[in-house]
Symmetry: C2
Subunit: 706 residues, 2 copies
């Protein structure tokens, strides 16, 4: 199905004429009556109610069938019981209606019968050029043009935002959840119109400045990401992803597979596309207000002016929690401020204005200090703290209007965020809201979170460079294709030693590995390789080699080799009785301070997810792992190394030489290229990859192919 065009989109959100099919004769309070709601809202479109009785409702002429309508309406809103939906859709098609909304529920959201009905509807519209929203949608609300099609009425404060959701609560509750909205579309079961369609149109609609997504799950993730990656350069995209269950990853065979939960995949996908994921509903609401109010944020240096030293300290804690800085004020600023204070008080940031303000004109001093703070070139944003109490005649509203609002208007390049203690008193919230230049949040943590997100959008998302994914030309694609074909012919699903060959073909340094069929061959090969050596069992049945006793490191001589060989074979026979033993692999033993894991897991919607982490205990116990969607840019590969909790171990830790992170980043990039080139590889582990000061080398690897 082609993408929803802008013309089709306007047909849905602002039609000239609309038919409501299945209008109930029961009207009045509590009846969830779309016609009644539209009339109440003063809908400008021509409305054609349809039901089988054909008797007037609410003074409106009702038609017995859509086929009888005097014109072809732009939009049909179908509200009949689920068994009647297919018939209604077919009549709409016959009439030539191009936009359908199916509100009715009981389809993919319900039982097998419902799923079958939804398939039939999809088949009916396929190839007709008619587009369908739903089924199981609450409809859509266009507050910008006052067009609501929904069986609930709602008072939506119009804002320059677009909402795409999978639950109607984000339409009817938008006043609270997203602080109002411009256009909201519930895609419901998304049998036709989906996230990508609406996102693409919101991206083009000039009245939409910020896009909100509520997502429970997605089909067609690739298209969605591609569109989002473009749109996010122009407009902030905020997502609230709900349903964080991790059941999906339990069936994984590889280490990478089991490390990659469903939620990690979404996290990686959102990051790739420049989508900002909201921690909770409160952040969703706060960020909506912030992005529609503040133009930008130049840096992380925050000035604080406060009527309470204690509250200033709380604000410092909040800034530090969100990675922001307490601005160091310039000498000039400090000198200009000091004259307001008694000599025993040394002014600094936070500017505790209480010692200056007592028994003087509190408001004037507050405003003056705020001006001086905003003038400081070393200050990027200002938090203004004071109380909403009208204490001793001090009028907090005057601080808002003559201070916060007037200064925010004067310097639109620097966000001014008041923390008014008691914000909801005395109409301060409302006054701020209406000013359009500052927002009111009730605590410093939420203020700092907003600032951190403004910084993130304006510095890391909006103007991000168009880096191309890494593509290495020296890869031997045919060689890999041959190995995979061969495995498939033999119905092999889990690849072991062959994976090192595949990696080598893709330019990843792998350890030289020799297969010895018996103990005598092992002596011979170990002599050629040179002690110390590593010995590993070769058996297709042994999946977890270390756990089964199939790995021995640092074998120093023939005596140790002989003993290790016997012990290993005994261990495998005991632990994996069904194992067919092909012999043992021998490798040079390379003790490495650092061993990492690079892997991949193919996600059905988003394609290969690249996994990178410190090896062993770090990954398994501390979950010190990071994720990205393939393919990777050079920047992304480097970022993955830097964002491990234990990343300092790469950069010359405790006197160890720094690791060759260039080679490491390259290996990560090559793995990404490999799994993009070969979708047959559903899971891949390099575990471990030894990382040294000079080079990196894959010591063991495994893959699952389909």
């Amino acid at each position: 199905m082609a993408r929803l065009t802008l013309e089709q989109y306007y047909n849905f959100i602002d039609p000239k004429s609309v038919t409501i099919i299945g209008v109930s004769e029961k009207t009045g309070p509590g009846m969830f009556h779309p016609l009644q709601n539209m009339l109440k809202d003063g809908c400008q479109a021509r409305i054609y109610p349809v039901n089988i009785q054909g008797r007037d409702i609410l003074g409106q002429k009702v038609y017995k069938s859509v086929l009888n309508l005097p014109e072809v309406p732009d939009l049909a809103f179908i509200t009949v019981a689920r068994n009647a939906v297919l018939g209604a859709v077919k009549e709409c098609l016959q009439k030539g209606i191009k936009s359908l909304i199916v509100l009715s529920q009981g389809f993919d959201d319900a039982d097998e019968e419902g799923k079958a009905l939804q398939r039939e509807i999809s088949q009916a519209i396929a190839g007709t050029g008619t587009r369908l929203l739903g089924p199981n949608t609450l409809g859509l609300i266009n507050a910008l043009d006052n067009f609501h099609v929904s069986f609930v009425d709602s008072d939506v404060p119009p804002k320059a935002s677009g909402v795409i959701c999978q639950s109607g609560v984000f339409l009817v509750g938008s006043a609270d959840l997203t602080a109002g909205m411009g256009v909201g579309i519930d895609i419901g079961n998304a049998s036709d119109i989906d996230f990508a369609d609406v996102l693409s149109c919101f991206g083009q609609d000039p009245r939409i400045k910020i896009i909100d997504i509520h997502m429970e799950g997605i089909r067609g993730g690739g298209d969605f990401l591609e569109i989002a990656a473009q749109v996010s350069r122009e407009k902030p995209i905020l997502v609230l992803k709900t349903g964080k269950s991790e059941t999906g990853s339990k069936a994984a065979i590889s280490h990478s597979g089991s490390l990659t939960g469903e939620d990690h995949v979404f996290e990686a996908a959102f990051r790739k596309a420049g989508i900002m994921r909201m921690a909770d509903l409160e952040e969703f609401q706060d960020l909506n207000k912030a992005f529609l109010t503040y133009k930008g944020l130049k840096g992380k240096r925050v000035g604080i002016i406060t009527i309470s030293g204690g509250a200033g300290i709380a604000a410092i804690d909040a800034l530090s929690q969100y990675g922001l800085e307490v601005a160091r004020l310039s000498r000039e600023t400090l000198e200009r401020m000091q004259e307001f204070f008694p000599p025993w008080f040394q002014v600094t940031n936070p500017v505790d204005m209480w010692p200056a303000g007592v028994k003087k004109e509190l408001k004037e001093i507050y405003v003056r200090l705020l001006q001086i703070l905003l003038d400081d070139p070393q200050v990027d944003a200002v938090i203004c703290i004071y109380g909403a109490n009208k204490m001793s005649g001090f009028d907090p509203m005057a601080v808002i209007t003559e201070g916060v609002i007037s200064e925010a208007k004067r310097r639109t390049d620097k966000p001014v965020l008041p923390w008014v203690i008691g914000i909801n008193q005395y109409g301060i919230s409302r006054e701020l809201e209406q000013s359009g230049v500052a927002i009111g949040l009730p605590n410093p943590e939420r203020i700092a979170r907003v600032l951190a997100r403004l910084y993130q959008y304006h510095h890391e998302i909006k103007d991000r460079s168009e880096e191309k994914p890494l593509v290495f030309q020296d890869v031997q694609r045919q060689l890999v294709a041959g190995i995979i074909d061969n495995a498939r012919k033999n119905s092999v699903k889990i690849l072991g030693s062959e994976v090192l060959e595949i990696l080598q073909a893709y330019g990843i340094n792998v350890i030289s590995t020799r297969l010895a069929g018996n103990k005598e061959e092992a002596f011979l090969l170990a002599g050629e390789i040179g002690y110390p050596v590593v010995m590993k069992i070769s058996s297709p049945q042994v999946v977890h080699k270390t756990d089964s006793g199939g790995v021995r490191l640092n074998i120093k001589n023939e005596t140790e080799l002989s003993l290790a060989y016997d012990e290993m074979l005994a261990a495998i026979k005991a632990n994996v009785p069904e194992a067919r033993i092909d012999g043992v692999f021998l490798q040079k033993y390379q003790p490495a301070h650092l061993e990492v894991i690079i892997g991949s897991k193919r996600d059905e919607e988003f394609g290969p997810v690249i996994v990178f982490g410190q090896g062993g205990i770090h990954a398994e116990v501390h979950k010190d792992v990071t994720f990205r969607l393939a393919p990777l840019t050079a920047k992304e590969a480097r970022e993955m190394i830097g964002e491990l909790k234990s990343s300092k171990m790469f950069y010359g830790w405790r006197g160890m030489p720094a690791a060759n992170t260039d080679a490491l980043a390259e290996s990560i990039g090559r793995v990404a290229q490999l799994v993009v080139d070969f979708p047959e590889i559903t899971e891949l582990d390099i575990n471990p990859l030894a990382v040294g000061a000079d080079a990196v080398v894959a010591l063991d690897a495994r893959a699952v192919i389909k």
Copy 2:
């Protein structure tokens, strides 16, 4: 100074008579005038204004000196400039006034002159029996008896809470910060009355049901904790600790010292005393409402009734984030509910009532389903989700009054928490507030956080058992005292090998260690111990043995020993040229899968903090460390093991045998006893302690004594 008595406390918060010293003649708006505020509030106490002019103010007779007053007032409120405070205090003492509040600032909070002034004031009141609040306090507010002494006026909603703070903003902003209060006391610089004093009185004041503390720092931490540990069994104590700077820990010499930041100490102290630490101001406010509303919470199983499936999913995410459970409904409950739903809809928890409610009597169904949910014995609390919109005549207030409030009154044993989307509309917040049986929070995360805290208080703090600290009788205290005395005589501050002797004297299993003065002795001793051995340098100047090349593990024979010996001496000479080398220590090499660190750091306020963590990389990179104040109960020692992020490694991980956690917990307890018995030990490290299936053994240790 003795603790503040209840009689003294009432003298402060509800005096029969009060003098205000330093009353300004300038009255009117913006003058921060305590007399004016008291008169406006209708203060019941007899008020005696004092200033040097002695002219009437606001129709009140003004005295020139406190010495001229016609009676001895219960309380004096001193507001003069800092240089006049000492004189005013002395006159109050002369008059025989027993309670003083010094509002003036510029003392310990300011420069050296101010610090000296504060000392003089303290000396003046010492031994007189007069108590002093401040200086640098905003005063106190007693909303229960309508007595406010403060230079700001404020409208405080009276609640059954007591507030102790170090910043006046928690008094004047209490409507917002703690959702009102009963009695609020700003201890200011706490030159006399401190946290422990007020906490003790709040604990005894029957009108106070919950105690709120704002703390920036504390002196006299031990007393405070002792009182808090008693009070927290009766009343929830909530603390907002601000100022999380970590500068204090940088000077530490030991590993334990550097791992223990100032904030960890507070964290451990609060836990010890059953104090709940608030994450932010929002939690502070929410928990105040919750503890004054809900009686308790029996378990973690939460039922959800929702008008939106999507919002139900968001609520599940929130429950999981805070360790709560989505209740499994009983079969009977499900059967009773199913009759409200169409046959294609299978009811479950969350109970998505939309399919039942459409086109029926939404409110009646909602209330009925809520009743059934509350009746289920497998449900401990219920979250009710619906929208505040008056959609299609659906009246959300009716759901509140006839549903939430009436059901919450019927079943006070099960908290009912509404998530009303758009809570601030239509007066729903106010209606809930006034009901006294349910609170309104704007998102599921805050609701889940409240439930988790209710569970914590009622299951882990309120009725916690009175376990006695571990005291082992078999310790050799004299032996340790001798070692420490000896070190002091020799001006040794950092103890090395002696620490193993100290540990052994306290019943901790240590590895046998022998000192070899030269290579020949090393051969001899290694032979006696039996290869493989560990060799460590013995030198008082070598503090970081491993980093300086002073540790060699797994030496297998004489050849390796000889080589290692030469290399070690060369390394030490190169790395620590000033080192005096006493020889090398030899120990049996005991490879251990698990190595932990047990340590201690003495905090000036709270005494010894016990540190426990996985050794090496776990502690240093992943900060996988936990903290408790000494002494420890057996339960606390076991908890420390269990709460490491990597704790599963102790319990038979990846086929390894389970570690002897009994022996490990005992060792932790013995370390705690040691550092309690010997306050001279300011820092202590056992690093590593090898943990095996049978026993634990300290391999190396270090201590700092003062």
